[in-house]
């Protein structure tokens, strides 16, 4: 059974079409269009289920409006179209019975489940081909009549137009909104150069409202110096060319000249004829300003770098100069060249007003100074010199803060010196200050060194004189003493038997005294020899080897007393061999001489610390009371009677003189009467 549409009459079909047209013209949105269309379709065809589907931008066809379809069905058939998008001359298709239509075999079950037995596809197409479709669904098998298809196609044609119009409208509004909200000025003009549109960006950029400019020539925006640009741009547009990123200057309503970047494109009508131009103008004042600032910063930085380089070149020459006078010449010479001065000087008698301030003083023209002519000459320069118009002056300040003087540079031309010159002079003044400080210190140290050398020399000479004196004095003492002694001996030999009582004693006294004096003179000679400076720097010697030799030479004394000498590991030390031998000899001799009742035991040790080598000689002898610890090093100091311990008391004095010659020290480290003594002496461990 085939259902008949209720609108068989032609009049009725047309009425439905007119109603659709009226409804479409009233529709304000696309959704309105779909709704109105669906209603008319249901009305006109008498079916109770229908749908409108359109290809979206992604190429997938989707339901826009439908009646009587399950969500499951809609989802299943979305994307299905008998015609690919854009197909031209697409014809309506009808499947009168889905049970027998093989082209729908894949969807058969789905259609039957949805209660659909017949189906009609009506293409929605424009010039660009298919862009959507109507769908009509029948619950029973259905053959569409020619009339039915005609009315459906007619409706489809109108709906297609309506949809397109609405889509264009929407897009146009969108574009307008974009244009309107743009920060950039977007202007269009016709081929005569008259303004045809004006957005809010243009209002902001140029200060005119749209009403003020529409219909007026665009040349009203040109900066006075850029008037001839306009015809040029226009002629390019007429040739169909674009003008891109063109940076120029335009005038605002308030007369302000602004930097803008332009892009001008031709505007064509549907037939491709150029009918005008659109212009996008961007205000680049901020960018220009930033560019200028950057350029300024860059040039300042370059200048600073140039100054630094110059100063770096100057520094070694200035700082290396330790002669104060040459230094001043060097500094003023270099600086004059660098700043292009005709006249440069270093003054220590400063013109008072010049350096009241802390830094550099720069004058472009001294004749403009209020005090000019009153205090002459202006800066104490020679009369025959060129008259100074511009000058630069910088104080030279020592580290102490004291102003050492001032650098002054002059030129007979006004405004000769710049900020950059100021920087150079400041730098040179700072370097000069350091160099002058150095030169002064150097001079002082030179003087101090010379003084030190002189007094050292004096001391050395005095020491030498003293040595010579002591040596010859003791030697000359020896001769008369020997004469006394020999004479006394002859008298004793020839007359000794005949002398009685006191006479014999007195002769004995003479002999004893001359013996003692002989011993004293011998020791004094030994002492003066010990104070004599050894030639050359102290070599590094093996103290262990030297001690071994000393012990070998003392073999007799050691054997006689049964003394034992033990040694620790001994280091290398900076001293002349003979001197160290003398030290060991004297200290070990003392250790044995001043022995207690026990068999003498001596231990020689050494300890290295902080660049010093500390030797120790420890014994088990009679010891020394603490109060004599210093005194024992004195010349001819003895603590005991001569009858008990022979000797003149010179040994430790010699030791002290010897170690002191090497910058060392000797001391009694530890001693207890009856409990032994330890002597220590420190020597530089190596020649440093």
């Amino acid at each position: 059974m085939v259902a008949q549409p209720h609108w068989a009459s032609e009049a009725e079909r047309f009425r439905t079409l007119y109603q659709l047209l009226a409804a479409l013209s009233r529709a304000s949105t696309l959704q309105d269009v779909y709704t109105v269309t669906l209603t008319s379709l249901l009305d006109a065809t008498g079916v109770d289920r229908a749908a409108i589907l359109l290809f979206d931008d992604d190429g997938v066809i989707r339901f826009k409006a439908s009646q009587g379809l399950s969500a499951e069905y809609q989802a299943a058939v979305t994307g299905h179209s008998p015609w690919p998008r854009g197909t031209r001359d697409a014809q309506s298709l009808v499947a009168p019975d889905v049970l027998v239509d093989e082209s729908l075999a894949l969807y058969r079950e789905l259609l039957l489940r949805e209660g659909i037995r017949a189906i009609a596809f009506v293409p929605l197409a424009l010039d660009a081909g298919v862009f959507g479709k109507f769908m009509l669904y029948y619950a029973q098998p259905h053959e569409c009549t020619t009339e039915e298809l005609e009315i459906a196609n007619a409706m489809a044609a109108h709906v297609a137009l309506a949809i397109q119009r609405k889509q264009l409208e929407t897009a146009g509004l969108h574009l307008a909104a974009i244009v309107e909200s743009s920060e950039d000025a977007i202007i269009s003009k016709d081929l005569n150069g008259n303004i045809t549109s004006w957005n809010r960006g243009a209002e902001r950029t140029f200060g005119y409202t749209a009403a003020e400019v529409i219909g007026k020539p665009v040349s009203m925006l040109a900066a006075p110096d850029r008037l001839d640009e306009m015809p040029e741009i226009l002629s390019k547009i007429k040739q169909g060319l674009r003008v891109e990123h063109y940076e120029t200057r335009r005038r605002r309503k308030n007369g302000e000249i602004i930097d803008v970047a332009l892009t001008v494109s031709p505007v064509r009508d549907a037939a491709g004829r150029i009918i005008g131009a659109s212009k996008i103008a961007r205000d680049i004042r901020d960018r220009k300003r930033a560019e200028q600032e950057r350029a300024l910063l860059l040039s300042r930085e370059q200048e600073a770098r140039r100054t630094a380089e110059l100063l770096n070149q100057v520094a070694p020459r200035v700082l290396a100069q330790l002669d104060l006078e040459k230094l001043v010449q060097e500094v003023t010479g270099i600086a004059s060249t660098l700043v292009g001065a005709e006249f440069g000087s270093f003054n220590t008698d400063l013109p008072a007003p010049t350096f009241r301030g802390e830094g550099v003083v720069r004058r472009d023209d001294v004749t403009q100074d209020p005090g000019y002519g009153k205090s002459s000459p202006e800066l104490g320069m020679p009369k025959e010199h060129l008259p100074v118009r511009s000058y630069l002056a910088a104080p030279v300040k020592a580290r102490s803060g004291e102003i050492l003087g001032g650098l002054f540079f002059g030129h007979s031309v006004p405004a000769k010196f710049t900020e950059a010159h100021e920087a150079i002079i400041t730098g040179i003044a700072a370097q000069a200050a350091i160099a002058m400080d150095n030169a002064r210190l150097f001079e002082q140290s030179q003087w101090a060194q010379a003084e030190l050398k002189r007094s050292n020399e004096e001391l050395r000479r005095a020491n030498q004189d003293l040595e010579v004196f002591a040596y010859s004095a003791s030697h000359d003492l020896q001769e008369p003493l020997r004469t006394i002694s020999l004479s006394a001996q002859i008298i004793e030999r020839n007359f000794g038997q005949r002398l009685q009582g006191e006479d014999s004693t007195l002769l004995g006294n003479i002999l004893a005294a001359s013996n003692r004096m002989g011993a004293l003179i011998k020791d004094l000679l030994a002492y003066t020899r010990a104070t004599k400076y050894e030639e050359g720097p102290a070599p590094n010697v093996d103290s262990a080897g030297i001690l071994a030799k000393v012990l070998e030479s003392m073999w007799g004394a050691l054997e006689e007393t049964g003394a034992t000498v033990t040694t620790a590991e001994l280091p290398m030390v900076a001293i002349h061999e003979g001197r160290l031998a003398q030290l060991f000899q004297n200290l070990i001799s003392n250790a044995i001489k001043y022995r207690s009742k026990e068999v003498p035991r001596v231990h020689v040790g050494a300890d290295e610390r902080d660049g010093w080598c500390v030797f120790s000689v420890a014994d088990n002898g009679i010891g020394i009371e603490a109060q004599y610890a210093e005194q024992i090093f004195g010349l001819f100091k003895r603590l005991h009677g001569r009858d008990r311990y022979p000797g003149s008391g010179i040994g430790l004095a010699i030791c002290q003189r010897v170690v002191e010659q090497y910058g060392g020290r000797i001391w009694l480290e530890q001693s207890t009467p009856g409990g032994g003594s330890t002597f220590c002496f420190a020597l530089p461990s190596r020649t440093r």
Partner: protein, 139 residues
Amino acid sequence: MLLVEDNPTDVFVIKEAIERSGLNLNLRIARNGQEALLYLQDLAGSEKPSCPALVLLDLNLPKVGGIEVLRHLRSSSLCSRTPVIVVTSSTAETDRAAVRHLGAEAYFQKPTSLSAYMELAEVVKRILRPGEEDGESQR
């Protein structure tokens, strides 16, 4: 024998030591270097020139020093081979070296003990009569 010595006590003691040792020598004494040089000069100019058998020479002498006398003697044509014993109180290494260099036969350090002077006489004996006592000369 020539003794060049300025100290009378030394002259006395040396003379006595030589005499006591049994050496029978004619001792000629010069009180300083100049006297010694004059004496040597006179010898060279005499009719029968003959050198002293031995010279005992002090170093520390007035006017002309002992080293100078020794040098003169060694460079003279007449007495360049005359044996010389330096008798001095000097202990200076420079003196010893100079004496060794100029070629003295012996270096005798003046002692402080009277008896020790007899050793000088022994040295004189050895040089004048080599091989007689112990066969060794002390050169």
